[in-house]
C-alpha cells in the first residue's frame, strides 16, 4: 500500500514537472505512460491495472481535457504491454527504452482513436506529426531512468501481492 501511494505521489510530481518543464513547443511527452510501463513490467496484473486506471485518472485531471480519455488509454496500454512482454522478457536499458517508446506510440494512437470514435470535435493532434515523434523520443529517453528510479523506490518496500490466474 505504501509503495503504491508513493508511486501515485511520484506520478503526480512527474505530471507537475511535465506541465512546468516539458511543455510545447519545446517538447511534448506523456510521463504517465512510462509509469504504466513500469507497472506492466514489475507489478502484478491486478494491482498494476488498478494503478494504471488511477494514474490515468490523475493524468486526466492534471493535464487532460476530457475526463476518462487517459483512464481508458492507460488501462489499454497496460493490458497491451502486459501481453506484449509475455513474449519478451528483460530489464535491460535497451529493452525498457524500446518498450517505453512503443507504449508512448501506442498511447498516442489509442487516445487519438478513442477521441475520433467518441468525440464530435476534430482531433487536436495528427498521428503523423512532430508531436508524435516527440512523444516517442521522450518515451525512449525517459523510459529507462523512470523505470530505474521506481525500481529503487520499490526496493525499499517488500510487500507481497496477490494476482489473478487467467483461465481461458
Amino acid at each position: 500500500m505504501r509503495r503504491n501511494t508513493l508511486l501515485v505521489l511520484l506520478n503526480i510530481f512527474a505530471l507537475l514537472l511535465q506541465t512546468v518543464f516539458l511543455t510545447p513547443p519545446l517538447v511534448v511527452c506523456n510521463l504517465t505512460v512510462l509509469f504504466v510501463v513500469y507497472l506492466a513490467l514489475e507489478r502484478t496484473f491486478r494491482s498494476g491495472l488498478i494503478l494504471a486506471l488511477l494514474l490515468g485518472y490523475l493524468t486526466d485531471v492534471l493535464v487532460g481535457t476530457d475526463r476518462g480519455l487517459f483512464m481508458l488509454t492507460m488501462v489499454l496500454v497496460f493490458v497491451l504491454i502486459r501481453f506484449l512482454i509475455i513474449r519478451f522478457q528483460g530489464g535491460k536499458a535497451w529493452f525498457v527504452s524500446w518498450i517505453s517508446a512503443t507504449a508512448a506510440l501506442l498511447s498516442t494512437a489509442l487516445s487519438l482513436t478513442i477521441e475520433m470514435a467518441f468525440s464530435a470535435q476534430q482531433t487536436a493532434v495528427q498521428f503523423f506529426s512532430l508531436t508524435t515523434l516527440s512523444i516517442v523520443i521522450t518515451g525512449a529517453c525517459f523510459g529507462y531512468p523512470i523505470y530505474r528510479s521506481l525500481r529503487i523506490v520499490d526496493s525499499y518496500f517488500h510487500e507481497p501481492e496477490d494476482d489473478f490466474v487467467f483461465r481461458g
Binding site: 507537475l16 490515468g56 485518472y57 481508458l72 493490458v79
Partner: protein
Amino acid sequence: MFRGLQQYRAWLFVSALLVVPLFVYRAHVNKNRDTNLLDKGIFLLTSPVQELLTSSTDFIARGWYTYVDLVDARKDIIELRLRLGELEREVTRIENIEDENLRLQKLLSLKQSNKNVKSQTARVISHHTTVHSLGLRVSRGLVDGVVRGMPVVDADGLVGRIQRVGFGSADVIFAVDSDFSVDGIVVGPGVRGRLRGDGLGEKMSFKLTREARADALKIGDRIVTSGLGGVFPANIDLGKISQLEIKDGKPEKIFVTPNVDFDSLRTVMIILRESHPLEPWVTPSKVLPETLRPAEIPVTSETDLFSRTSTR
C-alpha cells in the same frame, strides 16, 4: 453460478476497468462538464506544488537570462566599441574630404575670378619645415611650366614662391621664411613697405618704405602685395597687422600675421610668370576670411561665387 463467475473474475475485472473509464469518457466528452469534488480536491493539493515549481523555474530562468544578457551585453559593448572606432575613423576621413573639398572649391573660385592669369593647381607632396627653411614640395615641376620665383597662393593669400624646380615637382619657400621678402601695401591708408619673414613661421615684419604717421596704421589693417618688382601680382592677401610698436609718434616695429595656415596646406595654386604683372590678383569675397570681407560688398547667393569682386 458464482463459482463460474469466480473462474473468470480476472477477465471480468479487466472488462470492468475498461468499461468504467469508457463510460466516464462518454459522459464527459463534448459536454464541457465542470470539475467534480474529487477533481477539485486534487487541484487543491497539487496547485501549491505546481506554483512552487513554476515560480522556482521562473527564478532560475530569470537568473540564467540575466547572466546571458550580461554576457551578451559585454559582447555588444566590445562590438560597439570596435564599431565606434571604425565610425570615428570614417568621420575623420569624411572631415578630411570635406576640408579638401572646401579648399578645392575656394581654389576653383579663385581661378574663375582670375581667368586672365594663367595658373596651375598643385598638390602638396610634403612639408619640409627645418631650422634653415620653411616650405613645402608640390606636385608640379618643369614639365608643367613651373620655373623658379613663381608666386604660390592659396585661397587665403600668399603662400610663398617657387625656390627650386624639378621635372615633376617643385619646392616652395613660405612667405614667413626669413629668406622671403615681398613689397606690400596697407589697404586703406595706402602705406607701402617691405615684408620679410621672421623665420619662426608665425609672423612677418613690415618695414615701411617711407615714414608714416602713427595714426595712419592700426592693428587689424589688411596688407596685400603691391605688385611692384614684377614678381608677385598686385592685391594678393598677405595678412593683417597684429603688432604695432610706436616710438616718437611714428610706427617703429610692425608685425603682420599671415592669413594662410601653412601647416594645413593640401593644395596650392602656382601663378605662371607669363601672365603677370598685367592683371592684378582678384580674391572673391566668398573666399576671403569673414574678418577681411569688405562690408560694402554683400555676398548675395551661391551663384555669385564666380563674380569678379576686387578687394582693392
